[in-house]
């Protein structure tokens, strides 16, 4: 059996095994999810909430932007509180203060430490004991909890309405007035929040940990990291080190075996690429994605500013038309959309370039898909606007409004539309690529691998269609992370490795066989950790302990290949210097090098920082999460997208001289700006919050009191320099691209002979 064949078989076995376990875990999560009660009653017999209240409340929450405004179980935005932790703490304090009042004290804080300890003991049982009766679907709560819920519900009803007394709090949370104008809806919203808090504070039947593995940290009811989180954190580090050791051994053994030197082509093999009509038609993908990118940055600046002024922007009352919840929705959604557009355009550009075949009506297909994409962006955004403005109506929200699930926010209709668009894209790329995929075609294996990774990207978007409007939140989370995690930590990584290796084979710098084996091997390594690593997003999402154990162990393995990414980067760098004509590709290559750098720093280091269960127990939803999110998502895939765009532009306009100065400014501004954002704001602020969460409970690190401290404001302001520099990078890139069309400088393509001569000269 050839080496390649062995690798293919290993990959197949690995994928079948991993996905079987992942599906099994899905079943486990489904069975062990915190129950949705039919009703919640007090011991006196009064009905507090019904299931209908909670379901209505969840739909209200989704319509106002869901995870984009505050978070649930730690997933979502960072400015408003985590509603589960916030509700839990407020309910606890209401009970304690009521008890203290019975003892004649002003409140709990006014009691002596001895009395406080006694009440705390009583409180623990009151909250942690599970009173859900599966036979009747009823949760029965003590009278004092019923009173406390009334109180907290009142607080929330005022907060989400437009009570002037709550203006400062709304301002601190970046909420617009009348976030939910309908009073019934506000009450129902409380029912949903309460249920998430109940699951977070109530022990599983016959166990001593709560449904959310004791998340959030809440010392008053002894919600502390469970033993499993210590155990699996330690083991995950162990697995990581073992993986690094093993892979190091593998490299040592195979060192020097793979790369016999071979003759590099004396001229650019892609220089003769004929630009077909469909390839020219991809140019508008690149224009549009740059426009989307600029809008994304602007929305990011607005979102960040809402953290210091919750409703206004430099004196302008923006929250009435573009509140935080929306600006953040569009900011995160555009990130995915413009990066995806870069890849869509690249695929459509490259397929005919490789096969030399322009299928009939290909250009029409490319243009049609482009129009569909525009419609999807505009249509889904419009729906979200009406949803957040609370004018769409709950009955339309799921299909056309705002689903409220971070990174999967668009209405179901638009998701289906986008899915069809992705399938159309695969068809367009596949049919153009077909001659290069047929048996016997040179380089079939690596082309096939690249195509497979794009097929996986396209089809896995289907996971977004797996949940319905009333699916249990734990299951929605499960499928949502199939989408987000399996994309970014699975198939995107494979695509990134494959596309870069592929381009090098096309340029004749890498031998097909070497590249195929390397990419297959990398795929196996990425998938080994990546598939089951999905579960690291679900430690505290109402899942059983086995999810935490598997998630921690396998996701640690994801970092193993990243630890060695220096090899790949150095290799790329050497190839870029291998021949004089590679100078043409200098800037795409620089962006590919940045991909490696941020893969190590953003994904590997900052990803692992929050990854062990014990870390994430405190860090989830603190500013350490966006630290990782920004550096990984832009650092890796944003940079990759830009590199690919530049590569395609080189081929689209081969005869133009490039304004290298602009690209240099752009490249360094992106990197320096991103690093400044990470180091001046997100890392210090996240660390401050971390200490607060460990000392006083998670709710405190997310509270208005904590987040409104002057020092926090100051740290948020420290983003401005970095973000300004970053924006300059984007503007420089846009000016560069516009220049290619508006003020082209022709230099002509060097002839084959000229390149040959330059190569000979360089070799001599």
């Amino acid at each position: 059996m050839t080496n390649t064949k062995k690798l293919w078989i290993s990959l197949a076995i690995l994928l079948v095994a991993s996905f079987s376990v992942l599906l099994l875990m899905g079943r486990e999560i489904y069975q062990k999810a915190p129950p949705m009660p039919e009703q919640v009653v007090s011991t006196a017999g009064e009905t507090i909430y019904t299931r209908a209240d909670m379901e209505l409340g969840r739909r209200v929450w989704q319509s106002m932007g869901g995870m984009q405004l505050g978070s649930i179980w730690g997933h979502g935005g960072y400015v408003a509180p985590d509603w589960s932790a916030d509700w839990l703490h407020r309910e606890i304090m209401a009970v304690l203060n009521a008890w203290a009042a019975e003892e004649g004290a002003e409140n709990y804080a006014a009691l002596s430490p001895e009395r406080q300890a006694a009440l705390k003991g009583r409180l623990e049982g009151l909250f942690r004991t599970n009173t859900y009766d599966p036979a009747t679907g009823t949760i029965t709560l003590a009278e004092e909890r019923a009173r406390a819920i009334e109180k907290v519900s009142g607080h929330y009803e005022q907060l989400f309405g437009n009570d002037p007394a709550f203006e400062p709090l709304r301002e601190a949370y970046a909420m617009k007035d009348d976030t939910v104008p309908d009073a019934e809806h506000r009450k129902a919203l409380g029912a949903f929040f309460w249920w998430t808090a109940w699951a977070a504070g109530t022990e599983r039947p016959g166990d001593t940990i709560t449904y959310t593995n004791n998340w959030p940290s809440e010392p008053l009811i002894e919600n502390r990291p469970p033993a499993s989180s210590f155990v699996w954190s330690a083991f995950s580090v162990l697995f990581l080190l073992a993986g690094i050791g093993l892979l190091g051994w593998h490299y040592a053994v195979s060192h020097g075996r793979e790369e016999e030197p071979h003759d590099l082509p004396p001229f650019d093999p892609m220089r003769g690429t004929v630009v077909t009509p469909s390839m020219s038609a991809t140019a508008k993908y690149f224009w549009v994605l740059l426009a989307l990118f600029l809008v994304q940055i602007l929305l990011g600046a607005i979102t960040a500013h809402y953290q210091v002024e919750g409703q206004v922007q430099y004196g302008f009352e923006l929250a009435n038309v573009l509140p935080y919840s929306l600006s953040r929705t569009w900011h995160t959604q555009l990130a995915v959309l413009w990066i995806a557009t870069a890849w869509l355009g690249t695929g459509l550009y490259i397929a005919p370039a490789i096969s030399g075949y322009e299928p009939p009506y290909q250009r029409l297909g490319v243009n049609f898909l482009w129009i569909c994409l525009i419609i999807i962006v505009v249509g889904s955004f419009a729906g979200q606007w009406f949803a957040v403005m609370q004018t769409l109506g709950l009955e339309n929200n799921f299909w056309f409004g705002h689903q409220g699930w971070e990174y999967a926010d668009m209405g179901r209709f638009w998701q289906i539309f986008l899915f069809i668009g992705l399938v159309l894209w695969l068809v367009l790329v596949g049919r153009a690529l077909w001659p290069a995929l047929r048996p016997g075609a040179p380089g079939r294996s690596i082309t096939g691998l690249l195509f497979l990774s794009t097929v996986a990207i396209g089809l896995f978007f289907g996971a977004a269609l797996a949940w319905g409007e009333n699916t249990h939140i734990s299951m929605v989370e499960y499928w949502r992370w199939w989408l987000v995690h399996l994309w970014v930590e699975g198939f995107f990584e494979v695509f990134a490795t494959a596309v870069i290796a592929f381009l090098f084979t096309r340029l004749g710098l890498l031998k097909l066989q070497t590249a195929t084996v390397a990419v297959l091997f990398a795929t196996i390594i990425f998938m080994a950790g990546g598939v089951l690593g999905t579960l690291h997003h679900l430690y505290f999402a109402g899942t059983p302990t086995v999810v935490l154990a598997l998630g921690a162990s396998f996701s640690a393995l994801e970092v193993v290949p990243l630890a060695y990414i220096g090899f790949e980067a150095y290799h790329t760098f050497r190839l870029s210097k291998a021949t004089p004509w590679m100078e043409r590709y200098r800037w795409p290559i620089m962006f590919f090098l940045a991909v490696s750098f941020w893969n190590l720093v953003g994904a590997g280091l900052f990803g692992f920082l929050i990854n062990p269960p014990l870390s994430l127990y405190y860090m989830q939803g603190l500013n350490l999460t966006p630290l990782h999110g920004h550096t990984a998502l832009f650092g890796v895939y944003g940079m990759l997208g830009i590199g690919l765009v530049l590569f395609c532009l080189r081929g689209l306009k081969p005869e133009l001289a490039w304004n290298e100065g602009l690209l240099k400014v752009s490249f360094w501004s992106f990197n320096v700006g991103l690093a400044m954002m990470a180091l001046f704001t997100l890392l210090p602020l996240g660390t401050m919050q971390l200490i607060e969460a460990i000392n006083n409970g998670y709710w405190s690190a997310r509270s208005a009191e904590f987040m409104q401290q002057p020092i926090v404001d100051l740290l948020v302001w420290m983003r401005v320099p970095g973000d300004t520099i970053f924006s300059i990078g984007a503007l420089a890139l846009v000016v560069f691209v516009i220049g290619l069309w508006v003020r082209p400088r022709y230099q002509g393509v060097p002839t084959e002979e000229e390149e040959r001569a330059a190569t000979t000269k360089a070799r001599a």
């Binding site: 210091v308 002024e309 430099y314 004196g315 002057p710 404001d713 302001w717 420290m718 300004t724």
Partner: protein, 133 residues
């Protein structure tokens, strides 16, 4: 943030002075001594850094004081003139074709800089000309 008002104001004023000083010295080096250091990388990057700090502190002050360009006219004038100042400065150090033209732009930029400072001190769009009223 009002807690840090005086510090931020100090940083703002400090970076205004520093920024103007750097611009002045670079111009002197360039126009009087035909030196090359004014355009050297460390000098350019120092200048960018100071200007970024200047801009950031300015934005902070507007929010602390709730006084914004477009709403408060002296700030509107400041921002508008600032943009012109940047353009004049760029021509004065680099983009203008002849040394004479560069010198002209540089002097104009310096004059404008002083006028902007006077607008800031007077909190009035007329700046130094308020003295004439």
């Amino acid at each position: 943030m009002i807690e840090f008002y005086f510090e931020i104001r100090a940083v703002h004023i400090g970076s205004v002075i520093l920024s103007g000083l750097i611009f002045f010295l670079r111009g002197v080096g360039l126009h009087a001594f035909k030196a090359s250091w004014p355009m050297a990388a460390p000098v350019r990057f120092t200048s960018y850094t100071v200007d970024t700090v200047l801009l950031t502190s300015a934005m902070m002050l507007t929010v602390i004081l709730q006084q914004y360009p477009l709403a408060d006219h002296w700030l509107t004038v400041k921002v508008a003139l600032l943009i012109i100042y940047i353009v004049l400065g760029a021509y004065g150090l680099k983009y203008a074709k002849t040394p004479r033209a560069r010198l002209g732009f540089w002097l104009a930029a310096l004059a404008l800089y002083l006028y902007i400072v006077s607008v800031a001190r007077a909190h009035d769009p007329l700046g130094v000309f308020t003295l004439l009223l």
